[in-house]
């Protein structure tokens, strides 16, 4: 069991989501006998240094062979293991996608794909290392659970939940070391239930992943403009919390989704699919990445380019709010 002490949580935020992953796994590995970890030459990138030493019988480095990693994981899951596999997001999701869909998904296996540094996290490493379409892909697999933690605290929560969860899952880790946690304390995390951050009346903001930081800051800027925002952390993109979405559609004229992902196929798409056949539905501003390739730059540069900075989110919401 992880202890969620306030001081510890702040230390976590300095590690960032992906380095925290290995550290958390190491802390709880002894409690999970059927755990197995496969990494495609990214052991240290996933913070697995200590785990690799302390739990060598639960770890294998497949080298740079991601399809192999997923297929191997499938074999191990068939033998009763709860297998976590990891690489940088595009190589964990796009490259072995067919194996994920045809082996893990189709056979409904206990394999968790941990995508490191998704979205724009890898900054200057460039477009080959971004994953802006992984939610879209993973959503299409029947029975796949898609988690996207807001910060390091939620990353730990998500890992604990997946260690007890049986079935295919995709864990999308985002953000960079040093981004402050949005959760300052222990809290209740349930797969499939959005968390409310803040209550409001005019606009409902639903954000997923580390970019929630920008969304929360945007909501404060909007308050100053007289727009009251309710903010939700969507840590589970699949399955969606449809009960809550129904409630939101009843209470708000405008809904804003925010994601570090193409507009195509991600959280915004998922929500609008759900609302599509409602007679009364709110105006839905999908804030995400446009259908182009940006010039590379560091993380905050990329967020700015893609319209995902707090200021840009605020502008967009102001603009759309004027229409309702």
């Amino acid at each position: 069991m992880i202890e969620y002490e306030k001081k510890k949580l702040i230390q976590w935020s300095r590690l960032g989501q992906r380095k925290l992953f290995g550290s958390i796994l190491n802390e709880v590995a002894d409690e999970h006998q059927n755990l197995y970890m496969l990494a495609a030459d990214v052991g240290s990138s996933a913070g697995l240094g200590e785990f690799m030493e302390a739990h060598a019988d639960k770890f294998f480095n497949t080298g740079i062979s991601e399809q192999n990693m997923v297929a191997m994981a499938s074999g191990m899951a068939l033998e009763g293991k709860n297998v976590f596999v990891t690489s940088f997001a595009p190589f964990a999701s796009l490259r072995p996608f067919e194996a994920i869909r045809t082996l893990v998904g189709y056979m409904h296996l206990n394999v968790k794909v941990v995508a490191l540094a998704s979205g724009f996290s890898l900054g200057s490493q460039g477009n080959t290392h971004y994953a802006l379409e992984d939610i879209a892909l993973m959503r299409t697999i029947p029975g796949m659970t898609v988690l996207s933690p807001a910060d390091c605290v939620e990353t730990a929560k998500a890992i604990e939940a997946l260690l007890d969860y049986e079935g295919p899952a995709y864990l999308r880790l985002t953000g960079t070391p040093g981004i402050p946690n949005v959760y300052k304390d222990d809290y209740s995390f349930t797969i499939g239930k959005f968390n409310k951050f803040k209550e409001g009346n005019d606009v409902c903001i639903l954000a997923t992943g580390a970019v929630i930081n920008e969304a929360v800051r945007a909501s404060r800027l909007l308050e100053k403009e007289g727009i009251s925002c309710e903010v939700y952390d969507v840590h589970t993109v699949k399955p969606l919390d449809t009960k809550l979405l129904d409630d939101i559609a009843d209470r708000f004229k405008m809904v804003v989704s925010v994601e570090e992902h193409y507009k195509s196929g991600g959280l915004g798409s998922a929500i609008s699919e759900y609302y599509a056949d409602r007679i009364n539905r709110p105006l839905h501003s999908i804030i995400g990445v446009d259908d182009i390739y940006f010039r590379d730059g560091d993380y905050s540069y990329m967020l700015e380019q893609a319209g995902l900075s707090a200021a840009k989110i605020k502008e967009r919401v102001l603009n759309d709010f004027g229409r309702v």
């Binding site: 197995y36 399809q67 191997m72 499938s74 074999g75 033998e79 293991k81």
Partner: protein, 267 residues
């Protein structure tokens, strides 16, 4: 599940039954047809594996997923499920589909059909079993065309790195793939040599000689996985089609069926 019979069969008879069942299933499948060519090149290997070599704790992975019908045939003949079920092959909604769906109770361990993953899957299984020290063996049937897939070689590297001598791969080298002869489409001149260079024990056999097959399947405990390079003939058992192109997947008429049945009986 019916009582599983192992080690009680006459291999020649079993191999004949597998081929006859495959013809029956393909006839029944009508317009959907069946992958006769590859099923027949693998039939003798499957007969020896299930009829003589494998014990109940061993595992078989059909990486070459399109010859599921041959796998169904040998499973039925060995008592994993009732033979009557074979007649539902490729019926819409049937559990006996063109490519297998996982059904461990009935001896089918993976949902197959997407080529190139069998050796990796088996490596995962074998690693867990090695840690448990349960002495079981995992057998994988791979096609020679299937070796075009890069993922095959990822599995080959992995099994070698992990010293998985509880893995035996059989490559059904029938020299053909869907669009033609392997030497024309994407040649690998000596596939055994490639395995060997990755550190595997490599054995070469005639894939239709029962003694050679049985001998080659002897377990090794030298810390290296084993590959059996089985030279076979696509469509073996039907002299009228053996080795000819276009027999990867066939629809057969009643007349053709009767002709094939006669050819089989003459062997």
């Amino acid at each position: 599940m019916a009582e599983v019979i192992v080690h009680k069969m006459d291999i020649r008879e079993l191999a004949y039954n597998i081929r006859k069942d495959v013809l029956d299933m393909t006839m029944h499948a009508g317009a959907n047809g069946g992958h006769i060519g590859g099923a027949f090149s693998a039939a003798d290997i499957l007969a020896v594996l299930y009829g003589k070599v494998m014990t109940e704790k061993d595992k078989f992975i059909l990486s070459k997923g399109h010859v599921a019908l041959a796998h169904y045939a040998v499973l039925a003949e060995c008592g994993y499920f009732e033979k009557e079920k074979l007649v539902s092959f490729e019926d819409s909604g049937s559990t006996l589909t063109t490519h297998e769906i996982k059904d461990s109770e009935n001896g089918i361990d993976i949902s197959g059909g997407s080529l190139g993953y069998g050796i990796s899957i088996a490596s995962g299984i074998a690693l867990v079993r090695k840690q448990k020290e349960d002495n079981s063996q995992i057998y994988i049937l791979v096609g020679d065309g299937e070796c075009n897939e890069g993922s095959i070689w990822e599995g080959v590297m992995t099994a070698s790195k992990l010293g998985l001598d509880n893995i035996t791969v059989i490559v059904d080298v029938n020299s053909q793939q869907l669009d033609g002869y392997t030497k024309d489409i994407m040649p690998i001149n000596d596939v055994g040599k490639v395995f060997e260079s990755f550190g595997w024990n490599t054995r070469y056999i005639n894939g239709h000689n029962y003694d050679e097959i049985e001998g080659a399947l002897e377990k090794s405990s030298n810390g290296h996985p084993t590959v059996v390079i089985a030279q076979t003939i696509k469509g073996k058992g039907l002299p009228s089609i053996e080795g000819k192109p276009g027999i990867h997947h066939m629809r057969i008429t009643e007349e053709e069926y009767n002709g094939f049945v006669q050819e089989l009986e003459m062997l």
